[in-house]
């Protein structure tokens, strides 16, 4: 019977309103009472100076399997997650075949059970093949074990179809995650529409293209009385709309990826495709609005939108390159450094909450807590550790990141899944 005591760390467990220096006991892969463990021979982990948090959850990750294994596999993505301090990751359905049918979901779950060192939770598609024309078998997907439905990578343009999807999802109790992009307004846009797109002659992706769909989702969330979560919020207008809607009690929420606060659209000035993502990097005003949105709770979840691509895929002309960057191994460091230390928008306890309680609430997971009896998924964090990002050390199969060489303050030190250490620094 294995037992572990994590000693002397700052235990932050927002679900149980706990934030104090203390010990945490683990037995048989579950959080245990100290009394159970004290009598036994147990492994001791010294957590002095570290934060002891429930295992962090990243609800926006692309694992690329099945179909794009040259970019990432479930195994390598899980290793990257462990290195980043994550014990649970939620993977997106834009695989090949798309995760729009129970068989693919079953394949993903089997694969994860065999090869993944962290928990992998699949999402299912809203529409068949993510084409936005016909509903995917949402009920069957729910039964197959998806935690949410989303067309991420794509966005249902037909509001009527989206309405029906929301109503249907409500029936089976699945939350909806939406990649907010109006295809007409955005057109062939590759960078934020603004000074830099004008200067460089690149097609612009106007903020209104995201805001229009955020507005659509707010109206549908109200109409159908069901929760819609807006993914990777990037524009000031989106933050404002979500804030106003939440104030009225609408079931709407938003998440933030670190690149949307770490960088602005000026970064694309040399046509480096490591700064090309969807939605794109935007202006300083947008960055400030997002920071404010995090500070006042409008935007309640942090994630990466980890989007691996092979080097030969990214090393092409700017408008030909696929969108996205990897993020699992840098997101925690970037968020602690920028939100807690540099801009002081939230404290570390709230950051932990945004990575644990908030996603668990959204997806109705039995995770994100250190309650006795819960799975022993624990992340130890050193909030003051200074380190330099080295992409050649990434566990991910891909290296498409703009953060190589960045000096950050804050990092995970140890990742524990079901009581076992899967990674330590």
């Amino acid at each position: 019977m294995s037992a572990t005591i994590i000693k002397g760390g700052r235990v932050i467990d927002p679900a149980n309103k706990r934030d104090e220096i203390g010990d945490l006991a683990i037995a048989n892969g579950k959080i245990a009472k100290m009394s159970e463990v004290r009598s036994r021979k147990s492994e001791e982990i010294d957590a002095k100076g570290l934060i002891v948090a429930p295992g962090l959850i990243d609800i926006h990750v692309h694992l690329r399997e099945p179909g794009f294994g040259h970019k990432e596999t479930i195994a390598s993505g899980a290793r990257a997650a462990g290195t980043g301090g994550f014990t649970t990751i939620v993977c997106m359905p834009n695989t090949l075949p798309a995760a729009d049918n129970p068989a693919t979901i079953a394949w993903i779950k089997d694969r994860a059970a065999d090869t993944a060192c962290v928990h992998v939770l699949p999402t299912g598609a809203i529409s068949k093949n993510l084409a936005g024309e016909e509903l995917a078998p949402i009920g069957s997907l729910g039964q197959a074990g998806v935690v949410a439905i989303t067309d991420d990578g794509h966005c249902v343009q037909n509001h009527e179809l989206m309405r029906r999807a929301v109503e249907y999802a409500r029936m089976v109790g699945l939350p909806i995650l939406d990649h907010c992009q109006d295809y007409n307004l955005v057109g062939s846009g590759v960078v934020n529409e603004g000074y830099w797109s004008t200067l460089l002659g690149l097609p612009g992706w106007p903020a209104a293209g995201e805001e229009a769909i955020v507005m659509r989702n707010i109206l549908l969330a109200e109409l159908c009385d069901h929760h819609i979560h807006c993914q990777h919020v990037s524009a000031a207008g989106s933050v404002r709309l979500i804030r106003e809607a939440r104030a009225r009690g609408v079931k709407i929420s938003g998440e933030v990826c670190p690149h949307h606060i770490a960088l602005t659209d000026e970064a694309i000035r040399n046509f480096d495709t490591n700064y090309k993502m969807n939605p794109p990097l935007r202006s300083k005003a947008d960055v400030d609005a997002i920071l404010q949105g995090i500070a006042d709770g409008t935007l309640s979840i942090l994630c990466s939108d980890h989007a691996p691509h092979a080097e030969f895929e990214k090393e092409v002309e700017f408008d030909q390159a696929p969108f996205g960057i990897v993020g699992l191994e840098t997101e925690l460091g970037l968020f602690i450094d920028l939100l807690v230390h540099k801009h002081r928008k939230i404290d570390i306890a709230r950051l932990v909450e945004m990575y644990t309680v908030e996603p668990s609430k959204l997806l109705k997971l039995h995770a994100g807590t250190l309650s006795v009896g819960a799975a022993a998924d624990v992340t130890l964090i050193d909030p003051d550790l200074e380190w330099t990002v080295r992409i050649d050390k990434f566990k991910s199969a891909s290296r498409n990141s703009p953060f190589d060489g960045w000096k950050l303050r804050g990092r995970a030190r140890r990742t524990i899944v079901r009581g076992k250490t899967v990674w330590k620094l």
Binding site: T198, L202, N270, F312, E315, V316, E317, F318, D319
Partner: protein
């Protein structure tokens, strides 16, 4: 001034001194065109590849002639004759050319940033012959050269550029070069093609051509296209000509010594009336001649750097 660039990617990153240096060098090369034997051995033994992924006859011919006059060997590759159609990446195609010891690569491509992409990866000199809507530096230079030739200076001149600015690399290169040399640039066209955002580049934006023409020292008309992608931007050629075309009538508003320019090819009767294109104020053909001199200068300067 010591020229030390192996590539010419755009006018945005050049200093005013560098631009003037290219123009002075072009003065010297313009003379070669008047000799009996229009050839100098400056780039003898060098190989120049015209890699026109986006097709063009005029620009390519101009670069080809410029290379011949400098005694370089020229190869022409277009998208259809290259292995890009077989799925080879741009990077691989270019590296193959480098393996054949191509010294200078003249690239026209529909993707902004493509010349920069290659210049960073190749030892060869890369000359941008037009990348998407981003820049067309030799066109910008020959436009400025022509103005300088006729008016002796650039600074404080009022230069008006008319047309589809949003999608125009010719407009951007002109804007960067002219503002750097002190000209006052005004952009004119439909608000959908000339958004106010351009004012942040140090120019004035107007949607009323009649207000702007009387004060102009130079009017540069861009070719207006109405293919599929542009149908949402303005209703049609007829309306464009009514609102923005340099008709015979409108040309009466111009100062007598105002220069009328056009990068070509001209759409007679659309952005410019036939009579105006052939009129006394038009320097359109000078632009073509000057284009050759400017390109010789650019090839000489970038291709002559010791590697």
């Amino acid at each position: 001034m010591n020229w030390n660039r192996k590539d010419l990617l755009g006018l945005r990153e050049l200093s005013a001194d560098e631009i003037n240096f290219i123009l002075e060098t072009a003065d010297a090369f313009k003379q070669v065109g008047t000799r009996e034997i229009k050839k100098v051995p400056a780039l003898r033994g060098k190989t120049l590849v015209n890699f026109f992924v986006e097709p063009s006859t005029r620009t390519r011919t101009s670069f080809e002639l410029a290379a011949f006059r400098l005694s370089a060997d020229v190869i022409n590759i277009s998208a259809s004759t290259s292995s890009l159609t077989k799925g080879e990446t741009l990077k691989d195609t270019a590296r193959n050319l480098e393996a054949l010891h191509a010294d200078i690569l003249v690239l026209r491509h529909s993707s902004a940033g493509a010349p920069q992409f290659l210049a960073q990866r190749l030892k060869s000199s890369v000359i941008n012959a037009g990348d998407g809507a981003h820049e067309h530096p030799t066109q910008g230079l020959l436009d400025i050269y022509t103005i300088r030739e006729k008016r002796r200076k650039i600074d404080n001149l009022n230069v008006v550029i008319v047309g589809d600015i949003l999608f125009s690399r010719v407009a951007r290169s002109n804007i960067f070069g002219l503002t750097k040399l002190g000209a006052h640039v005004t952009l004119v066209g439909p608000s959908t093609l000339v958004p106010r955002e351009f004012e942040k580049l140090g120019v004035t934006v107007s949607h009323k051509i009649d207000d702007v023409l009387p004060g102009a020292d130079v009017v540069n008309l861009l070719r207006i296209q109405h293919e599929r992608q542009r149908k949402e931007y303005f209703p049609g050629i007829g309306e464009y000509t009514t609102l923005f075309g340099l008709t015979k009538e409108r040309a009466k508003l111009l100062k007598p010594d105002c220069l009328v320019m056009h990068p070509g090819p001209i759409n007679r009767g659309v952005e410019i009336d036939s009579e105006v294109a052939d009129g006394l104020q038009s320097v359109i053909l000078d632009q073509v001649t000057n284009g050759l001199a400017v390109r010789m200068a650019v090839l000489y300067l970038c291709g002559g750097i010791a590697t």
